[in-house]
Amino acid sequence: MFLVSGRLRAGLVIALVLLTVLGVRLFQVQGLDPEGKAEAAVANRLVTTTVPALRGGILDANGNYLARSVERFDIVVDQRLSQGKDEYPRRTPEGEWEDVTFDQAFDELSAILGQDADTLRRSILGEKGFNFVAKTVTPEIRDKVLAVKFPGVYADRTTLRTYPSGAVAGSIVGFLGTEGAQEGLELTQDSILAGEAGSKTYEIGGDGIRIPYATNEDVPVKDGDSIKLTIDQDLQWFAQDAIAAQTREYNAEWGNVVVVEVATGNILAMAESTTVDPNNPGATEADSRKARSVTDSFEPGSTTKVITMAAAIEEGLITPTSPFLINSNYTVDGQTFKDAYEHGTLQMTASGILANSLNTGTVMVGEQLTPQERYDWMRKFGIGTELGTGLNGETSGLLAQPEQWDSRQQYTVLFGQGLTQTALHTAMVYQTIANDGVRLAPRLVDSTIDADGEEHTIDSGEGTRVVSKKTAEEVQRMLETVTVEGSGSSGALEKYRVGAKTGTAEAPSPNGGYDGVTVSYAGIAPMDDPKYVAVVTIQRPKGDLYYVEPGKTFQKVMEQVLTTHNVAPSTGEPDIYPIEY
């Protein structure tokens, strides 16, 4: 520095000073950034997009999809890109350029999308930056629309929830609405099915193009898990068809069929007479969109007599062949009970009382239990307790505390009036008897399947022992007696031994009192080794009750269940008790 001449030195000094000024300013703007300009600039460029998670599916017991999300596209348009023009260039398949007028393009699009050209014109032309042209379009139609190459028209990927089997199991599967899941397992299992959305954060420039080598954060998306049900799709359809036919035949309010596997508690079919098609829920009325088998409770009637008998036998108060002298009326505690039909004095065994569904005899048997005992036995068999299937709107029915029972109700509960329960409750009572006295929890959701395919079976726990094996076997024989000698004969099968009980209960009217009846048929088959329970319930059938036979639906459904599962026909004669002495 000291070697250079004066002018050069002065120049160097000025240059250094300027450089220092520049350096300080640079440090100020870039390093200190007191106005936060750098941050604001990055914030302008930063874009976060969410990557939606793929919703899990709902499968039936054999792996068929009852609900599945598929890829669809929304055709959207940026109207600003086609302003002020009336034609655009496009390549023909031969590679030549041609000019396509908007009118021609609208004609092509209307043929593809099935809308008329005026609607398309209104949705495509304008000044908005974003407008829908068509929604949930299949990939093939999307390809065709994009091939028209209308300026500004592009496709956004979206998903559509499809229910390939439609109304089969529709009441169980549920459906989605615009705000998310609305009903059924779609709603209650939403946390499992929905998964977690991911996000991508990146920077885009002013022209909308992504800036490479800039911020690139990626939160991976977690797809939803699928759930596998115990429902068999084909049996469900068969049961739905059968009960719909019978409900229509009797002009009833509703009907349902519940089929339960005895050894596991798996619900194989839960069919309603009117089922919603989740693809189009609006087509069904609002109160028919749920599974009535678990949401609608009714007074069960005579199917409850099996609990009275089982309790009395277990308590050692009676045996299946205990003799009872029965008149048409029976009075106890100032309450008189009569049977469904007039009869003289009968000499019936306990099995005979069950076979002919005699209220008088049932009260004679059940009065030997204290009210608390009656209540406890009902609770042990699951009446008034939560079912736990996981469906929304599920009800546990109504079983009042014994202290609240009035002097009549304490006896009517013995034959199923004065309490309410659902069809599934009835099925689980008979499942207990069929399973040698061990009550299991009803299983609807069998397992969850991860996005990577791993299956996790849901454990429903051990069952609870309700009655001893011996008692259960005796009650099974009594039920077979009902089928062979009594009211259960309407559901008897040709090739299989059946044990069943019918029920005809007065249906409480919403205005107080009773109005109409609820008929039911609960059956177990085959009695040589009970495997399946089916319960048919029909609410308020019209016409002469003599001709109302829910047993017919039981026959159809149970035979279908047994032949589907290749159950060998029963060999040997039915094992029954004498009904009279």
């Binding site: 091939a147 190459k149 089997s165 359809w237 068969f238 068809d241 189009n280």
Partner: protein, 228 residues
């Protein structure tokens, strides 16, 4: 050696000393009594040891540089062409996945129990009224299964699945275009199975085939995905 020196320094005079060799030569001393002044050995260029023929270093460096550049170029070309292949395969994959999806939906539709039953009914099939049993151990047939008789078609009480396959027109703010329930019409029509990926819309006047637009080249452009 003499020849070499001659080659190297043709103009140099003969000297009394050649390198470090003294020549023993007869010569007349100019002053026999005066001792010769001590002379420093004059410095002269010594030919180096014989060198083998080698490529000059510069050329070697150039060669290495050229090779390096060529390698980088080749690498880039292969990566780029691999990238083109990748894009092409990804496009193919997307296309196949979509085709697979469409066919799967068709299969699911055919597998739906009510559709199966309807198709069977159309073929004239009826439910079997009786069944027999074959014991697989003893091969004995029990029961008396009878051949099914022709029956009348029962009305289907469970509707066909109304899976949405047609585009949905969004509700416009202008003069109402009601949302077309096209899918319901399709389902309510004849009982033949509704194709899940329907392409029922008439082809004319369809535009150019929806093949990948090659823009005059041979390699299709990668498909943009929104948000990428």
């Amino acid at each position: 050696m003499t020849e070499e020196t001659r080659r190297r320094r043709p103009a140099a005079p003969l000297r009394a000393v050649q390198g470090n060799l003294a020549r023993s030569e007869q010569w007349e001393p100019a002053e026999p009594q005066v001792p010769a002044p001590r002379r420093r050995t004059p410095l002269s260029l010594v030919p180096a040891a014989a060198r083998r023929r080698r490529v000059p270093v510069a050329a070697l460096c150039f060669a290495v540089l050229a090779l390096g550049l060529a390698a980088v170029l080749l690498l880039n070309i292969s990566v780029s062409s691999g990238q083109y292949q990748l894009v092409q395969l990804q496009n193919q994959r997307t296309e196949l996945v979509q085709k697979n999806e469409a066919l799967t939906q068709q299969v699911e539709n055919h597998q739906a129990p009510q559709v199966l039953a309807a198709t069977a009914a159309e073929l004239g099939m009826v439910a079997s009224p009786s069944f027999g049993t074959i014991d697989l151990q003893t091969l004995a047939v029990t029961g008396n299964p009878e051949p099914a008789k022709e029956g009348t078609k029962r009305e289907a009480l469970i509707g066909l699945p109304q899976v949405l396959t047609q585009p949905v027109t969004p509700a416009q703010a202008q003069p109402a275009e009601p949302e077309k329930p096209v899918e319901n019409v399709r389902a309510a029509e004849a009982q033949d199975s509704a194709p899940a990926a329907a392409d029922a819309s008439p082809e004319a006047p369809a535009p150019a085939t929806p093949e990948a637009d090659l823009n005059g080249g041979t390699i299709p452009a990668p498909s943009q995905r929104s948000g990428q």
